[in-house]
């Protein structure tokens, strides 16, 4: 398929359809409303369903319902909306249903602002809802990657029978870039729904499937949590994605950055290279599971004096970076989160002053 110029939000909508997702429930919120606008127009063409819920709370449970029926289903929202969906996310994780959630982050806390932010890192990677669960979280750096990750999210959700999140920011949603849709990713759900509430005709009326997150028997609940734990451990082995940049040099410092912020860092690294200062970068593409080994190994390189986590937040991912570096090198943080994205020159200044 030829390249087309699309907004990130629209491209995510199209990617869902290309991945075989015909169920989309959402509630509008800046800066991701174009996903709903796009899919409201596009889903009827492919016999899909779009329902605008009365609130994000309702949407969260619409997702639960469709996922419990074994349907491919997605919602998109932005930070405050994801907070409202977090209760349902916890239930969906507990009941082990595959679903895709897209968070096009805006500034917070509270209503915050409508400009790009990465302030929901903790919410996405450490919970958000209650209980012992994780989301598999992927963070695209641009429109093409947003498409690829959205398409990949559905089979991953089915592989692990749990919610997967695409964590973008307002800029990725609003920006237009050329995209190419891989057309071979459409696939029927992998799990054959043998756990789902649908499919009575195939399995016979005597086998009842119950999709639930309530386990009053302590052993059953512990077993369910052990199953979830085993899934997360498997993700850590099989699903970690990251990208290294300029790490084949004797870099003096290592940046860890993701999403839009990492692109600014890449330009800053190029500028510093021209000025004779080598800086490496690890860009996590999955935030959970986190590229622990990649960051440790890159930090361990002898030439590397310090590690800096650069994020559009007041210091969230830095805690994971510190954990991975395990004290072998100093770990610093730099970030802004009012909505202005720092320019490459600012990043270069910060890194240079840190290393001097």
């Amino acid at each position: 398929m030829a390249k087309v110029l699309m907004k990130g939000n629209e491209a995510i909508g199209e990617a869902a359809i290309k991945a075989g997702c015909l169920n989309y429930f959402a509630y509008p919120i800046t800066p991701q409303s174009e996903v709903a606008e796009y899919l409201a127009k596009r889903l009827p063409d492919v016999n899909g369903t779009f329902v605008q819920g009365e609130s994000e709370v309702a949407v969260g449970y619409m997702i639960f319902g469709a996922a419990g029926c074994g349907e491919r289903v997605m919602t998109t929202s932005s930070s405050p909306g994801i907070s409202l969906m977090s209760e349902a996310l916890s239930y969906i994780a507990g009941a082990r249903c595959p679903a895709v959630f897209v968070n096009i982050m805006r500034g917070g806390p509270g209503l915050g602002g409508i400009l790009p932010s990465q302030g929901d890192y903790f919410q996405a990677t450490k919970g958000g809802g209650h209980g012992d669960y994780h989301l598999l979280v992927m963070a695209p750096e641009g429109v093409q990657e947003a498409v690829e990750m959205t398409m990949k999210a559905f089979p991953l959700a089915e592989k692990y029978r749990g919610p997967v999140m695409i964590l973008g920011d307002g800029l990725i949603g609003q920006m237009m870039e050329p995209v190419e849709f891989p057309d071979n990713l459409y696939a029927e759900p992998l799990n054959n729904d043998d756990w789902a509430t649908s499919g009575m005709d195939k399995r016979g009326a005597d086998k009842k499937n119950i999709v639930k997150s309530l386990f009053l028997n302590p052993k059953e609940l512990n077993d369910n949590n052990l199953t979830l734990k085993a899934q997360y451990e498997q993700m850590k082995k099989e699903e970690v994605m990251s990208e290294a940049y300029n790490t084949d040099t004797d870099y003096k410092g290592l940046i860890v950055s993701y999403g839009t912020m990492s692109r600014v860092c890449r330009t800053a690294i190029d500028t510093m290279k021209e000025q004779g200062l080598e800086i490496g970068m690890i860009r996590p593409k999955t935030l959970f599971p986190f590229p622990e080994k990649e960051i440790y190994d890159a930090a361990a390189k002898e030439s590397c004096k310090a590690v800096i986590s650069i994020e559009l937040s007041m210091g969230q991912m830095v805690e994971d970076v510190e954990r991975c570096v395990r004290g072998i090198k100093p770990v610093e943080w730099y970030g802004e989160c009012g909505g202005d994205i720092p320019a490459p020159e600012t990043i270069a200044d910060v890194v240079q002053s840190l290393l001097n």
């Binding site: 400009l115 870039e177 320019a343």
Partner: protein
């Protein structure tokens, strides 16, 4: 090679569209492109702006504080953004609405009454196309024929406006080449 063009004006002047058409033409010529709108809170009558980045490499930072060129369709846009343009760039000034100049002596100014030219072509609505074609001709950033095709594709569903926009396009090119 990386070039950044900032388009700026009132909401409703077709700023986002002319930027998109430039990005689209550059993409068709095989460049990497990014189209970055302003979506922050803006006042009515204030500035709507949009940046296009065209590069032969992967585009790093989409955040451009100092664009290579500026297409200013109204006065607040010129006053706000002209100081940031890189030396050697082009600043297009829509003198139908802007009675002043950029005050820069290290840039090339392309000053003409964009709205009046568009009215001559048939409608003031095509002012964005006049400005786009004039800028494209002056800067040589994209092939003019490719750009013309992109405009036709954009208006394919409203084919009756294509002739006016083609006329507007030609007028813009002619002014830039004078």
């Amino acid at each position: 090679m990386q070039k950044e063009v900032q388009f700026a004006g009132f909401g409703g002047q077709g700023i986002l569209l002319s930027a998109k058409l430039l990005a689209y033409a550059a993409m068709k010529q095989g460049y990497n492109v990014a189209w970055i709108p302003s979506y922050g809170p803006e006042m009515r009558g204030g500035t709507a702006y949009c940046t296009v980045v065209i590069s032969d490499r992967l585009i790093g930072s989409p955040i451009i504080k100092t664009p290579g060129h500026l297409v200013a369709m109204n006065r607040p846009s010129l006053e706000k953004f002209a100081p940031a343009v890189k030396p050697g760039g082009i600043i297009l000034i829509n003198s139908s609405l802007i009675p002043v100049r950029s005050g820069r002596d290290d840039v090339t100014e392309l000053v003409f009454p964009v709205n009046d030219v568009a009215i001559e072509a048939g409608t003031v609505k095509s002012a964005n196309i006049v400005a786009l074609s004039a800028f494209a001709a002056k800067s040589g950033l994209v092939d003019l024929e490719t750009l013309r095709e992109c405009i036709k594709e954009e208006f394919a569903s409203k084919s009756k406006v294509i002739p006016i926009n083609m006329d507007a396009f030609d007028r813009g090119v002619k002014i830039a080449q004078q």
